[in-house]
């Protein structure tokens, strides 16, 4: 069953490459996404058997990340129906195929029970996201792709070295990189090699996850890639990297080194919050703004896991919320770019007045990103803060609140300027887009609106009420890492 | 504090007991009411300047204030009709408390100076309940000095209008009564009574404080002629 889930997107990817016109390609993409989500949700009912002699398996953590990926991928594919209306040339065919490859490799990452295979999965996702970023062939996008490629490959090389150290640490007794075997014999792993491997894996996967010192590729890649791709990148890819770090965390927890692991992770989290604040305050480009807010939220996840206890439960919940929030944010930027044709925030004015629906969604994105109550992000950040307070990490509490407040200031300054109308009468109706020559602004097409609405509803539900089945999956997943409510 | 008390006791009370006791005799140089020499000569107190080098002979009599303009004209046959007291109702009101508002409508300020002397300890106007106040609204009457120049005319009328009924008007000094020295200048008006009804005319240029005091007391019925 897992193998089918893994290879099915590859097959349709190849098929799509052959198809002639764009319309059927979109439908095929949508069909695959639907099928993928159907399988994933069936896993919620009955957990699938381990297959491919132990290489592929699904535990609570994997299921969480997988379902997030499938939901987001379904929304993005639905969004693409509207996004690519009318254009169809060779680059679209490559785009759709690599998109499907991207889905299958991400599924590989979530399913793999073997560190080596996990690493291959991450390497594959990186490589096949290169053409996705490079879709619009401008100077900046090529530069972004080059940076993305070099930094990520360096990261993965370090992760590879980390895996080898892990193998070396268990060379005399475990002799294998299967997660389950490692967890059983975690105690006997040789300590120095384990520590070396944890550090290298943390740095390697941290680069992929966009944590602070290694985050430099993220703003460029996400702001240059087309919006649906950046939604996928920040929604799913970062989560896969986060999952790989959680696997390392599992091993550490089993080996009794939680303190060693969590202190580093909290440091990384705090640094990413600090860096995110520095670049969000006074940011000019609204896509880069949301990219830096992904760095910020990854920092929050890191802090959550590092704090342990309810913090881990909060971090996992925050991972889900953050994925959907980033989905909303980047799809809205896609709409904005389609209407205002400019990435500079100063040229986008009066969105609420001229495009009410996009305006409301932009506000919803802003509220969700800055963790305002009705949205789920507030609850998860509250849990993380609770863990910090309960654990008497008063320094973490101080920096956490300070940076979140400053980041809120930065984002509010830009987004509110975009939504509020502009009174200069020089340009037609108030707030009418500056450089749009079209007299009557185009009506927002339905297919670009519905996915965002669905995501907003999801995040709102998570803000008010956590369904029991999600609650015990989160509890089980947190249990794996030694946390839980 | 003690020094003030010492000088006070040394000085003693300076107020002259005028209406009861006789007024202090004025120096020789004082030019009081003129004496009509010839048979048919008539002198209009409102117009003359009381200057020493004119051929008029002045007596030492200070009481010259009259209620009507024509009484100011002295002639052989008519006895000088001095100011009469107000009617019964007005006296009941102003008998013990009369607040006056001084309006200087042009002129050389000599009348104002002598009017001011009344507040000094010697004459002490306040013992009769008469007081000069700042606002016409608090006042019962206005004392006009100077030939009501064209600029001051409107202000005078405004002040007159601002005073609540029942009110008095006192014309002080030659200029107010008949335009005085300035009577031939186009700016000056020829006498206050041409503008507003006047209740008391006090001739003199400037009228001696005693004349003014005497006029006021007659008006209030404190002195009966």
């Amino acid at each position: 069953m897992l193998i089918f889930l893994l290879f099915f997107p590859l097959v349709t990817g190849g098929l799509v490459f052959v198809l002639r016109e764009q319309e059927s390609r979109n439908r095929m993409l949508l069909f695959t996404a639907l099928l993928h989500s159907a399988c994933v949700f069936s896993f919620w009912k009955f957990t699938p058997a381990v297959s491919l002699n132990g290489f592929l398996g699904l535990d609570a953590l994997g299921l969480l990340v997988l379902s997030v990926i499938s939901i987001l991928f379904l929304m993005v594919s639905f969004y693409l129906m509207g996004y690519f209306k009318g254009e169809s040339d060779i680059s679209h065919r490559i785009f759709i195929t690599f998109l499907l490859f991207f889905l299958s490799f991400m599924t590989l990452v979530t399913l793999s029970r073997h560190f080596g295979l996990l690493l291959i999965g991450i390497e594959a996702t990186t490589l096949c996201s290169v053409p996705l970023i490079n879709f619009v062939k401008t100077r900046q996008s090529i530069e972004a792709t080059w940076k993305f490629l070099t930094i990520c490959l360096v990261g993965i090389a370090l992760a590879l070295l980390g895996t080898y150290f892990l193998a070396v640490s268990g060379i005399d007794n475990v002799q294998s990189l299967f997660i389950d075997k490692l967890l059983d014999h975690a105690k006997e792993l040789s300590l120095p090699w384990l520590k070396m491997s944890v550090i290298f894996l943390l740095i390697g996967c941290g680069t992929k996850m966009g944590l602070a010192p290694m985050h430099t590729w993220l703003p460029d890649a996400h702001s240059q890639a087309p919006s649906p791709v950046s939604a996928l990148l920040s929604g799913c890819l970062l989560n896969c990297a986060f999952l790989s770090i959680l696997r390392v965390g599992q091993v550490c927890h089993a080996a009794g080194q939680t303190q060693f692991f969590s202190s580093m992770f909290i440091l990384l989290g705090i640094i990413s919050l600090g860096v995110a604040y520095v670049f969000i305050l006074g940011q000019e480009d609204y896509k880069r703004l949301f990219a830096y807010s992904s760095v910020e939220h990854m920092g929050i996840l890191a802090i959550g896991i590092g704090l342990g206890g309810i913090g881990i439960y909060g971090a996992l919940l925050h991972m889900i919320n953050n994925a959907f929030t980033k989905g909303i944010a980047f799809l809205v930027t896609g709409n904005l770019y389609k209407q205002y044709h400019s990435k500079k925030a100063s040229e986008v004015r009066g969105v609420l007045r001229s495009y009410p629906i996009t305006g409301i969604f932009l506000l919803a994105a802003f509220l969700a990103v800055s963790a305002v109550p009705p949205f789920g992000t507030f609850i998860s950040e509250l849990m993380i803060l609770y863990a910090a307070v309960a654990g008497h990490h008063y320094w973490v509490v101080f920096f956490y609140s300070l940076f979140l407040a400053l980041i809120f200031m930065g984002i509010a300054d830009i987004v509110l300027k975009m939504t509020n109308s502009y009174e200069s009468p020089a340009r037609g109706p108030q707030g009418c887009p500056m450089n749009a020559t079209v007299s009557q602004p185009p009506k927002e097409s339905l297919s670009m609106v519905l996915p965002i609405l669905f995501l907003i509803v999801l995040v709102l539900i998570l803000g008010v009420y956590i369904p029991p089945f999600l609650d015990d999956i989160l509890q089980k997943a947190a249990g794996l890492l030694g946390g839980g409510r | 504090m003690l020094k003030i008390l010492k000088t006070r006791f040394k000085q003693g009370c300076r107020t002259i007991l005028f209406p009861k006791a006789k007024a202090p005799d004025l120096p020789q140089r004082y030019r009081g009411r003129p004496i009509i020499a010839g048979q048919n000569g008539s002198i209009d107190l409102g117009k003359i300047f009381f200057n020493p080098d004119s051929d008029i002979v002045y007596s030492n009599d200070y009481s010259m204030a009259t209620s009507k303009r024509e009484d100011l004209v002295l002639s052989q046959e008519r006895e000088m009709a001095l100011a009469r007291a107000l009617n019964e109702r007005m006296l009941k009101i102003f008998g013990r408390s009369l607040k006056l508002r001084q309006v200087s409508a042009g002129g050389c300020n000599a009348c104002e100076l002598d009017l001011n002397v009344l507040n000094t300890p010697v004459f002490d106007l306040s013992r009769f309940g008469i007081q000069f106040v700042a606002s016409p609204r608090h006042a019962d009457g206005i004392v006009v000095t100077g030939p009501v120049s064209r600029n001051m005319r409107e202000a005078l009328l405004k002040t007159y209008e601002a005073i609540p009924e029942p009110k008095l008007v006192i014309a002080l000094g030659g200029c107010a009564i008949s335009g005085g020295i300035f009577s031939d200048s186009p700016q000056a008006s020829h006498g206050l009574d041409t503008i507003i009804p006047v209740d008391l005319f006090i001739p003199g240029c400037p009228p001696h404080p005693l004349t003014t005091l005497d006029g006021l007391l007659r008006l209030l019925g404190r002195i009966s002629s």
């Binding site: 550090i199 109550p373 509250l382 | -």
Partner: protein, 675 residues
């Protein structure tokens, strides 16, 4: 409790209905009006029923409504106790008045903004504030608190075409959101200490003194930003002029009071604080009171003036709280009871008369199309209703005897004086300083409101285009009084002011009910008598004054028979060309007092005085700079922005440097962790 739920459901349904019909103005407006009246009616009924229980039959916490496990980490647990009932009372009265006023105010609004959405947001704000007041669970409290912040942001920026409104909205959002983080940390510390996020368990646990001090500081900063204590008040003077009138009335009447409610709730939970907390609160209250009113004196714009006055009244309220805490710390329960009761009653009174003042100021601005006081004057004849209501409002805000302001200020004085009697030397010093501060605040408030009322309504109209007709009527400005919708709520509020002033007994009784909820102790009946009886005899003195007044009036009428009243021009030393520009304006009226406090207020008078013989055109402007805003927060924001701009070189664009970061961090981690 059932009644409250009914009113909440009415509000929810009606807000959805309004959103449905938001395209057509009439339907949405009338749905808004009727649902508002119904909901507020039920709300008031429920609040009064809790407040009026004679015997303490019901448990102190009143009836609760609980839905388990809804909000993660917390739960949807609401209940009315005397304290929240008291605040619900003032909240529903004011929201009813502001809502009706808003309905009338926006009826002839021709701008592009959609009034339907505005009304729906108004309902949402009412729902959320009710939730804040009745929340018995910390998470629910925080969720409602944040939603309120954002909903009120959207209401404030209704006219967001103009730049200043947007800036004000942004400043409001930032400062309140920063405040929320302190609240977050505070509630979480309380929750961690108590083991559960429900207020009941928190009240049961015993907090060590050191932790109580930390909680107090967090509560002080978090709620202080919302309430508007002096150093944190910078958003208030910007938000009030920006918001439409009924919103700024609601803002200053209720939203600011939630800060006070929060502070009281924390006091109810963490029962005993160290002494220095009470003293700090007292000092900050005095500073806020005096500072607020001094800044108000320097303002030229009505709504800014009223905004600063909210800060002053918050200062008075916290004086009561401060002396209450000090009394509690000294275990002098009488001082604590009267202090809290005074604070509670002044909260109610301030909500009522501040709402009245804002609504009347709003209708003045609505008619004269300008907020600047120096362009008004002589409006008493043109707007008689608004004039009289503004007069009642200003009389009660200055705490003058006939109105409700006096009763609550009297209670605070009584608490301070009791403090002077019962506390030790240290306590006496602080309570007597508080008395002096309160007296100064009362005096300055009287000065400020004579200025406001005199400059706006009395004298002759100072705006250049209105020339002074002979009989004082302004012929060419089409000023007409608002219709019943505008006047109705104002009359309701004025009636409450008067009723509160003349029959204070039951309002004081409600305040004592609220105090019992704060302290959790039963107030002895003799103390209630010892407070209510003096007030009754005070009203006897006022009635005696009324008798004398009527006697004097009769004498006057009898005497006027002789002479009919005569009208002439104002007496101005006979100056012929009497022009309306010779009157005392707002700045000249306040100049003597501002000169005395000029160093504290950065009071500046700019303008060029022409030196030549023949006077040419010249201008003079006096201004007061808000010290805490211009010297503390603006530079702080500037430094943060500059600091973050300096750090931008991290993202320098070169791939090589990026890889160097990765490598260096790897080395750092290796060194840190392995050696």
């Amino acid at each position: 409790m059932a009644l409250l739920l009914i009113s909440l459901s009415i509000l929810i349904i009606s807000s959805l209905l309004i959103l449905l019909f938001c395209r057509s103005k009439e339907i949405s407006a009338c749905v808004f009006l009727w649902s508002l009246v119904a909901a507020c009616g039920f709300g008031l009924w429920s609040a009064l029923s809790v407040l009026c229980q004679k015997a303490m039959s019901l448990p102190l916490t009143g009836v609760d409504f609980r839905v388990h496990g809804t909000i993660p980490l917390g739960e949807f647990y609401i209940g009315i106790d005397a304290l929240s009932a008291f605040f619900l009372l003032l909240f529903f009265i004011l929201s009813l008045a502001a809502g009706i006023y808003g309905y009338g105010y926006l009826r002839d609004y021709t701008g592009q903004r959609n009034t339907g959405v505005h009304f729906a947001l108004y309902h949402l704000l009412i729902i959320v504030i009710t939730l804040v007041l009745v929340a018995k669970n910390a998470v629910l409290f925080l969720v409602a608190w944040e939603i309120m912040t954002f909903v009120s942001y959207f209401l404030i920026t209704f006219y967001n075409e103009s730049e200043s409104v947007r800036k004000a909205g942004y400043l409001y959002l930032i400062s309140t959101h920063v405040g929320v983080f302190c609240l977050l940390v505070m509630f979480l510390i309380m929750g961690a200490q108590a083991g559960s996020m429900n207020f009941d368990q928190m009240t049961a646990t015993q907090f060590p003194l050191a932790l109580a001090a930390l909680l107090f500081m967090l509560a002080f900063v978090g709620f202080g930003i919302k309430a508007g204590f002096i150093p944190f008040h910078i958003w208030l003077p910007h938000a009030h002029p920006a918001a439409p009138t009924h919103i700024s009335a609601l803002l200053s009447g209720v939203v600011v009071k939630l800060g006070i409610y929060g502070l009281m709730r924390v006091m109810a939970i963490v029962k005993d604080f160290p002494l220095w907390c009470g003293v700090l609160l007292l000092i900050m209250a005095a500073i806020s009171g005096v500072g607020g009113v001094l800044y108000a004196l320097g303002q030229h714009e009505i709504k800014k003036l009223l905004a600063y006055h909210s800060i002053e009244n918050i200062g008075i309220i916290t004086l009561g709280l401060g002396i209450g805490m000090i009394g509690h710390a000294y275990h002098q329960e009488t001082v604590a009871f009267i202090g809290y009761a005074g604070a509670l009653l002044h909260t109610f009174n301030h909500a009522v008369f501040k709402g009245l003042l804002f609504l009347s100021a709003g209708s003045v601005i609505h008619c004269t199309h300008t907020g600047d006081m120096d362009h008004m004057g002589g409006l008493f004849k043109l707007l008689p209703w608004t004039g009289h209501l503004f007069l009642i409002g200003s009389l009660s805000i200055c705490g003058l005897p006939l109105f409700n302001g006096f009763i609550s200020e009297w209670l605070v004085y009584r608490a301070l004086l009791e403090g002077v009697f019962h506390l030790d030397v240290f306590g006496i010093i602080f309570s007597s300083l508080a008395i002096v501060a309160l007296a100064l605040v009362g005096g300055l408030a009287a000065l400020c409101f004579t200025k406001a009322f005199g400059v706006i309504f009395l004298g002759s109209n100072k705006s250049s285009e209105g020339h002074q007709g002979k009989e004082g009527r302004l012929s060419n400005i089409d000023i007409k009084e608002g219709d019943l919708m505008l006047r109705g709520p104002m009359i309701l509020l004025a009636a409450i002011c008067l009723w509160g002033g003349l029959f204070p007994a039951n309002m004081v009784y409600f305040a004592f009910q609220g105090t019992q909820a704060i302290t959790g102790l039963q107030i002895p009946f003799v103390l209630k008598e010892a407070v209510i009886n003096p007030l009754l005899s005070a009203t006897r003195v006022l009635s005696f004054g009324g008798v004398i007044f009527s006697v004097l009036a009769l004498v006057r009428d009898f005497l006027v028979l002789h002479y009919p009243v005569r009208l002439t021009e104002t007496w101005s030393c006979g100056y012929v060309k009497l022009s309306h520009r010779m009157q005392y304006t707002a700045s000249s009226f306040a100049r003597p007092i501002l000169k005395i406090f000029r160093s504290a207020l950065v009071f500046r008078v700019e303008g060029k005085i022409s030196k030549e013989y023949f006077p040419a055109w010249t201008s003079l402007k006096s201004s007061v700079k808000d010290v805490s805003e211009s010297l503390l927060f603006r530079p702080l924001f500037y430094v943060i922005k500059k600091f973050s701009r300096k750090l931008k070189w991290i993202q320098s664009g070169h791939t090589q440097t990026y890889i160097l970061y990765v490598f260096l961090f790897l080395v750092i981690l290796l060194v840190w962790k392995l050696i």
